[in-house]
């Protein structure tokens, strides 16, 4: 890439890819590699889940069979058949075949049937509840990331000022208190002590009588119900973004290209956004990986606290009732969502930082 110090430079930019065959180019392509990694991760996670469900002593299939025999007086054969149907597993087949079938079922979207609401497929449960979680968690993450970047930038520019000190204290407090406790505090103070929010009406994802449609009324209602979860996600993650962005901005402000940009007479606004802001925000994209997993994982408690019927609420109900097929399906979907969200964050990062695609 860089020219050596003894040979005069050629007048053209050095090519970035050595070897010109197209297969090699595809393998080295940034996007292709990221997608391959995501697919691989999804495969590993589904495999882990399969072995947890099927192979661990005291695994859910055996537990379920034992429960059927115990509570409904079923004989072993019948109980085993029913379990096989529920988990969409052929228990008589050899293990490797079960595994192949399981992967095949996954690809076809067949995740089995719920134990507690017989006849309802896990896929349909996910289809019903997942959009609400994507909506609330996605909105919360985007809001807090954007807000954190803007506030962090301001803090760096007004370093050691009142705003900086206040926000630093706020950020350290809010990012060290567990998010579900912040959720409970919101209910206790905003809903019960000060009564500024009608928390009873805010439960659930929609008000009675409202149907999903592309209308303003529906959007308003959805936001009304998602207000508390979104506020919690924003409050508990914005501090980390703020502090990271502040640190990163302070570093970027010291870079030569910022001084040169000022020497070039660029307008302050342009320097702040395209030169300082954009470069300072780049390292934060790598932190999105951890944040997405954390927020999605935490959403499961937040939704339970606010009785917001998203996928996390379903998971906590399924765990409480030991509804294994639902647990398995929902957990898989949560993991896949996190992997896909990370993939998107990676792509966004690659798009924003031209240096990444080369390496």
């Amino acid at each position: 890439m860089s020219t050596s110090t003894t040979v005069p430079e050629s007048l053209s930019a050095a090519p970035t890819v050595t070897g010109s065959s197209w297969t090699r180019r595809i393998i080295q392509n940034f996007y292709v590699r990221r997608i391959a990694k995501a697919v691989f991760t999804i495969w590993v996670v589904s495999t882990i889940i399969f072995f947890l469900i099927r192979l661990l002593p005291g695994n859910p299939v055996e537990q379920y069979i034992a429960r059927l025999i115990e509570t409904q007086g079923m004989d072993y054969e019948n109980a085993r058949m029913q379990a096989a149907a529920l988990f969409a597993i052929d228990l008589d087949a050899p293990m490797w075949k079960q595994y192949i079938d399981y992967l095949g079922n996954l690809m076809r979207g067949n995740l089995g049937v719920s134990i507690t609401s017989p006849g309802t497929t896990v896929t349909s449960i996910i289809a019903r509840f997942l959009p609400w979680t994507l909506f609330s968690v996605g909105t919360g993450l985007i809001l807090s990331f954007t807000l954190g970047i803007l506030l962090g930038l301001m803090m760096a520019y007004r370093r050691e000022g009142l705003l900086d000190h206040t926000l630093t204290i706020f950020a350290s407090v809010v990012s060290s208190v567990p998010n579900y406790l912040i959720g409970i505090l919101l209910v206790v103070w905003l809903g019960v002590q000060w009564k500024v929010l009608p928390i009873a009406q805010m439960r659930g994802t929609m008000s009675p009588g409202v149907t999903p449609a592309f209308t303003f009324a529906f959007l308003y209602d959805a936001l009304f119900h998602a207000f508390l979860p979104i506020t919690t996600y924003v409050l508990t993650t914005v501090g980390t973004w703020m502090l990271s962005m502040k640190g990163s901005t302070v570093g970027t402000l010291g870079e030569d290209f910022v001084t040169v940009a000022r020497a070039r007479g660029l307008k302050d606004w342009r320097i702040t956004t395209a030169y300082v802001g954009r470069n300072a925000a780049l390292p934060l994209f790598t932190q999105l990986t951890i944040a997405i997993g954390f927020v999605v994982g935490g959403s499961f408690l937040i939704e339970t606290i606010f009785q917001y019927q998203g996928i996390g609420y379903v998971l906590s109900a399924a765990i409480a009732q030991r509804d294994y097929p639902v647990m398995q399906g929902v957990f898989l979907v949560i993991t896949v969502s996190v992997i896909l969200a990370n993939l998107m964050a990676d792509f966004l990062y690659g798009w924003l930082d031209p240096r990444i695609k080369v390496g």
Binding site: K37, T41, V44, V45, L52, L56, G58, N59, P60, Q63, S172, V173, S176, V177, P178, Y180, L181, I184, L185, V187, V188, G191, V192, Q193, I199, T289, I290, G293, F294, V296, G297, G298, F300, L301, T304, I305, G312, L315, S316, I319, A320, R322, M327, F331, I334, T335, V338, I339, N342
Partner: protein, 291 residues
């Protein structure tokens, strides 16, 4: 005698270094206070278990510093007694995850090649699996009625982020002159790791440990709230969980009962995280030689 003097000297220097960051030092003092209250307090303050129907939901007073709960019991004594289990479980988890992170992070950095590739690949995958749901799902299969076992369980899966940090730190140390010099002198792996690396990584290890501690408090209390950890003892998490499941959070007078354990947990987390700022100074070998 000499050894005692050395230890006292070391402690003095450490404390002096820690005061360089005021917020961090306040965090350190607060952490110590909380630890003392939780570990020694129970010997002096008896747990109030007697139901007093005439004293239900009283606000704080000189008699009951933190008020009383739904059975008229003193909340302060419950807070004092409710910390040690939470801290014990978190400490076990933090020890295990720091141990895994430091051992394999350093190994990964120094072995390089396929070992590094395998460890990092595995770490990346585990990092993408949302930890909390995974623990919750596993907790549905496994009986978590033993505190030590609960701690190990929490620690077993919470190392990936720490491992990545330790590895990058070890990678940068690997390139430093003193390690290069030790390698050039062929001083052996043991010497390099324990004489050169560990002292220089001490800051990192200690901070990793404190962060793992707060992470373990987070998951632990979260699992308690979901009812996945059998309620056997009366700890801060259980206090919140009971107040919540009994609907006390919607009852205005019950505020103290719900607020006090939340405050205890929040204060503990905040103190420990703030303390890391001072720890960074105290375990920095370069600063130590300057004093």
């Amino acid at each position: 005698m000499n050894m005692i003097r050395d230890i006292l000297n070391w402690l003095g220097t450490t404390l002096k270094l820690m005061t360089y960051n005021k917020a961090g030092f306040i965090g350190f003092l607060a952490t110590c206070t909380i630890l003392v209250i939780c570990l020694i307090g129970p010997f002096f303050i008896p747990l109030d278990t007697r139901t007093k129907l005439d004293k239900i939901y009283q606000p704080p007073s000189t008699e009951h510093w933190f008020g009383t709960d739904h059975q008229g019991r003193d909340i302060f004594s419950q807070i004092v007694h409710g910390g040690k289990d939470v801290i014990y479980v978190a400490a076990v988890a933090a020890f295990l995850s720091t141990f895994i992170a430091v051992t394999f992070g350093t190994l990964s950095a120094f072995a390089g090649g396929a070992v590094d590739g395998f460890i990092m690949g595995l770490t990346d995958i585990i990092l993408t699996i949302p930890q909390f749901p995974l623990l919750a799902v596993l907790a549905a299969f496994i009986k978590l009625d033993n505190l030590t076992f609960l701690g190990l369980f929490l620690g077993l899966l919470s190392w990936p982020a720490l491992l990545r940090a330790v590895r990058s730190q070890a990678l940068s140390l690997k390139e430093r002159d003193f390690v290069e010099a030790a390698r050039a002198l062929d001083l052996g792996a043991g010497h390099i790791i324990f004489r050169e690396l560990v002292p220089n990584m001490m800051t990192y290890i200690v901070i990793s440990f404190t962060l793992a501690l707060t992470a373990a408090v987070y998951t632990q209390v979260g699992l308690v709230l979901l009812g996945l950890v059998p309620v056997s003892s009366s700890n801060w998490g259980v206090m919140i969980s009971l107040a919540w499941t009994q609907g006390a959070i919607f009852f205005r007078d019950a505020m103290w009962r719900i607020m006090m354990p939340i405050l205890a947990i929040a204060l503990f987390q905040l103190s420990v995280i703030t303390m890391t700022r001072s720890l960074e100074l105290a375990f920095n070998p370069r600063l130590r030689t300057m004093v």
